[in-house]
């Protein structure tokens, strides 16, 4: 008897096909399964044979699916990590970025993008270190050295310019500005001219730094003090317009500076006072000159003494002395006098020359005249009627 595996109907042994359903009857079945009981056992055994590959397949598939998912997950997280790290790097957190990139690289060592990011970050870290050393050079006031270092970093940055490197540019510019400001600060000490200082002020005007603001303040202070000093010197030299020019020069850079404005006002007042004084002095001199001239012309000669006396021969001598009261030389003084008799009748009017011809101020001169005609007159007197002179 052969039992069909399909429908379970019995067939004659030796039949190759089931008479009921037409299924092929297996030899083994024919051989080994003689009864209903053995047939189920046989079936179980047969299934057992295939359970191993099936299980392996299932487990393997599961493992592979899990593994695939995991790998994709890792990809995601590495990508995310990289993106975040790059973002950080671009924000300037290079060290953090480096750490994260390195961590990500452990997971995906062959990922070139990661490697490139990492090496870029390393480059930038190196440049940043260089910039830090520039900064410390600046702080030590070794500006030439700093400038040299900075030029080197700058060249490197230009040669390797990329998105990350340019994040260092603000820092580079800032350091450059600081060097400029530092240099100016050093130079300002030496500068003594307003226009040179103003040049520095121009250079500083483009820099938006705290140091620059301080340097500007220092320079304006210096401009004010130089202008003030120059103006004071010029006041002392009585060169008022030059003093004003000095103040104006300062004011053009240090606009509306209170002290300079006051100084300018003061200079103007002093200038006016000076001119006023000078005018007064000259007016006084002119007045004095006029007075003196009047005096020299009208009252320059004082007749100190004049007398007439007779000698034993009856000759009458008239002599006298004059003194110059002029303020300049007077010359050719002529004294005109009347000779009077005892009744005060004019006998004669005559003129005598004073000698010497030139009389300096306060010098005295004399005159003398002898008359032979007055023997009979008893009492003769003389009276000055006029004095004439030249003012030299």
């Amino acid at each position: 008897m052969v039992v069909c595996r399909e429908c379970g109907s019995e067939n004659n042994s030796g039949s190759r096909f089931c008479s009921h359903c037409g299924e092929k009857l297996m030899e083994e079945e024919l051989d080994e399964l003689g009864s209903e009981n053995t047939s189920s056992l046989y079936n179980r055994k047969k299934k057992l044979v295939y359970i191993m590959p099936a299980t392996v397949l299932i487990i393997l598939t599961a493992v592979l699916v899990l593994y695939y998912n995991h790998s994709v997950q890792v990809n995601h997280s590495v990508l995310k990590e990289k993106e975040e790290a790059e973002k950080m790097a671009l924000e300037g957190h290079y060290n953090e970025a480096e750490k994260r990139l390195a961590e990500a690289a452990e997971q995906r060592p062959d990922y070139q993008g990661l490697e490139r990011s990492l090496s870029t970050v390393h480059d930038v870290q190196k440049m940043q270190e260089d910039l830090d050393s520039v900064e410390s050079s600046i702080e030590e006031n070794e500006l030439d050295k700093a400038l040299e270092q900075l030029a080197k970093v700058n060249k490197e940055m230009i040669d390797n310019e990329n998105q990350l490197v340019v994040t260092l540019t603000p820092k580079l510019n800032q350091l450059d500005s600081r060097i400029t400001v530092g240099k100016i600060n050093n130079e300002v000490k030496e500068l003594t001219k307003v226009d040179e200082l103003a040049d520095k002020l121009n250079t500083l005007s483009g820099l938006d730094l705290e140091e620059a603001a301080r340097a500007r303040e220092k320079i304006t202070e210096k401009i004010v003090s130089i202008s003030t000093k120059k103006a004071e010197d010029k006041i002392n030299e009585k060169q008022y317009n030059e003093a004003i020019a000095a103040v104006d020069e300062g004011l053009q850079y240090v606009i509306n500076h209170e002290k300079l404005l006051q100084l300018k006002e003061r200079v103007e007042q002093e200038k006016q006072a000076f001119e006023q004084e000078k005018r007064e002095r000259m007016e006084q001199a002119m007045e004095q000159q006029a007075l003196e001239e009047m005096k020299n012309r009208r009252e320059a000669v004082n007749v100190l003494d004049i007398e007439a006396y007779k000698d034993e021969f009856g000759d009458v001598t008239i002599d006298g002395e004059v003194q110059s009261e002029a303020t300049s030389i007077i010359s050719s003084i002529e004294v005109t006098y009347d000779i009077l008799d005892k009744d005060d009748e004019v006998l004669e009017t005559d003129t005598a020359q004073v000698y010497p011809m030139y009389l300096n101020p306060e010098d005295k001169g004399k005159f003398e005249q002898i008359y032979y005609d007055y023997e009979k007159e008893e009492d003769i007197s003389v009276e000055v009627t006029n004095v004439q002179w030249f003012v030299e």
Partner: protein, 378 residues
């Protein structure tokens, strides 16, 4: 039975093999799905500078709207140009020297009031604020930011030469870094331009013929030759911006630029000193002691009153200068002279010779005799 087991084992091995292959495949394939790019080392995108070159006609048309003529009550005419939206007009200091209020005329011949709010004593630059130009939201001229101007750059000079408004002359930069002084201004690193300009151009803009940006302020003309100069605008911008921000309360004075002061300066100091000493003795000789005294410096006058001064000549009949030599010494001039004087003593006239040394210098802008001493020559 045996055959079944064999088949099963082979199947298992196959499955395992496929599985391992698949594992390796995943291991290779999934990581390589990561793109190899890095944002960080991407090159920086080139910035598009957008330097559109305008044609000359456009530049002229647009610029002229911002160029004004500046007139002073005394008849001085100059030019200027609007540079910001506050109605601030840049011009030359010598155009608006010693004035506060000026008349500004724009391209449409509209007259406006302007006030000088800043002027430099050292560089020939001033700033005039014209409120009407601010309100009208006028176009203003762009000022260059390029520090390097090259020789043979094509330029346009705009302005009102001789009062002829809206004149444009074309030329090129024919020289750089020219330095000279024209009292009281110092012209430093100025451009020399081949475009002919005349006095009315002073203060007008020099415009780059390609970009339309202002690069200079046309200025002083040296001599009669047709050489124009232009002050690089960048050199003075910081100062100008300061004035714009805080207008000057008190403008600088330019006594050098007031009418008539020029003629005096033609003479050298030595000539003037010689003249003054001669004039001094001429005055003494004529007895005009006030004039002679007025030639002395105020500090000398303060020491020596007019009376004392006069007394010194009370025995002098006449003086004449025989010989006079002037030597400039810094800002001062040393003058040595020999004079012959007729003096009276004891009524006698004596003739004496004196050797005198005078120092002359400026006091309140006038040359004065600061000090002097002398001795008789035997």
């Amino acid at each position: 039975m045996k055959r079944a087991w064999l088949t099963s084992a082979i199947l298992t091995v196959l499955v395992l093999a496929v599985g391992v292959l698949a594992f390796y495949f995943i291991q290779q394939k999934v990581p390589s799905e990561l793109e190899a790019s890095s944002i960080l080392d991407k090159p920086v995108p080139e910035e598009d500078e957008g330097n559109v070159t305008k044609n000359t006609q456009e530049i002229i048309y647009e610029s002229q709207k911002s160029v004004v003529q500046i007139e002073l009550d005394n008849g001085t005419i100059g030019s200027g140009f609007l540079y910001n939206d506050q109605g601030d007009v840049i011009t030359n200091a010598h155009v608006v020297a010693n004035t506060e209020d000026v008349k500004v005329i724009n391209v449409d011949s509209k007259e406006m009031e302007g006030q000088v709010i800043g002027a430099s004593r050292s560089s020939d630059v001033a700033l005039v604020r014209v409120p009407d130009l601010a309100e009208a939201e006028h176009d203003y001229l762009p000022v260059t930011e390029d520090e390097d101007t090259e020789l043979l750059t094509e330029v346009l000079a705009l302005g009102s030469p001789l009062g002829l408004q809206n004149t444009v002359t074309r030329g090129e930069i024919s020289g750089l870094d020219r330095n000279f002084e024209l009292d009281p201004f110092t012209y430093e690193n100025v451009f020399q331009i081949s475009a002919p300009i005349s006095p009315g151009n002073s203060g007008g803009p020099l415009i780059n013929g390609e970009t339309g940006e202002v690069i200079g302020i046309n200025s002083a003309k040296l001599g009669d030759e047709s050489i124009g100069f232009s002050i690089p605008v960048l050199d003075v911008m910081p100062m100008v911006q300061q004035w714009s921000k805080s207008p000057m309360k008190d403008l600088p004075e330019y006594p050098e630029l007031t009418a008539g002061s020029e003629a005096l300066n033609e003479q050298t100091d030595a000539d003037q000193a010689t003249y003054i000493i001669q004039y001094f003795y001429d005055s003494v000789n004529q007895g005009d002691f006030v004039t002679a005294y007025s030639l002395l410096s105020s500090s000398w006058q303060e020491e020596k009153s007019f009376e004392e001064f006069r007394e010194g000549y009370s025995n002098t009949l006449s003086v004449s200068v025989d010989n006079i030599v002037a030597d400039p010494d810094g800002e001062e001039v040393k003058v040595s002279c020999v004079i012959t004087s007729e003096e009276t003593a004891e009524g006698e006239v004596e003739i004496k010779k004196y050797n005198l040394d005078y120092t002359l210098g400026y006091e309140n802008d006038q040359m004065m005799i600061l000090s002097g001493e002398g001795e008789e020559v035997d």
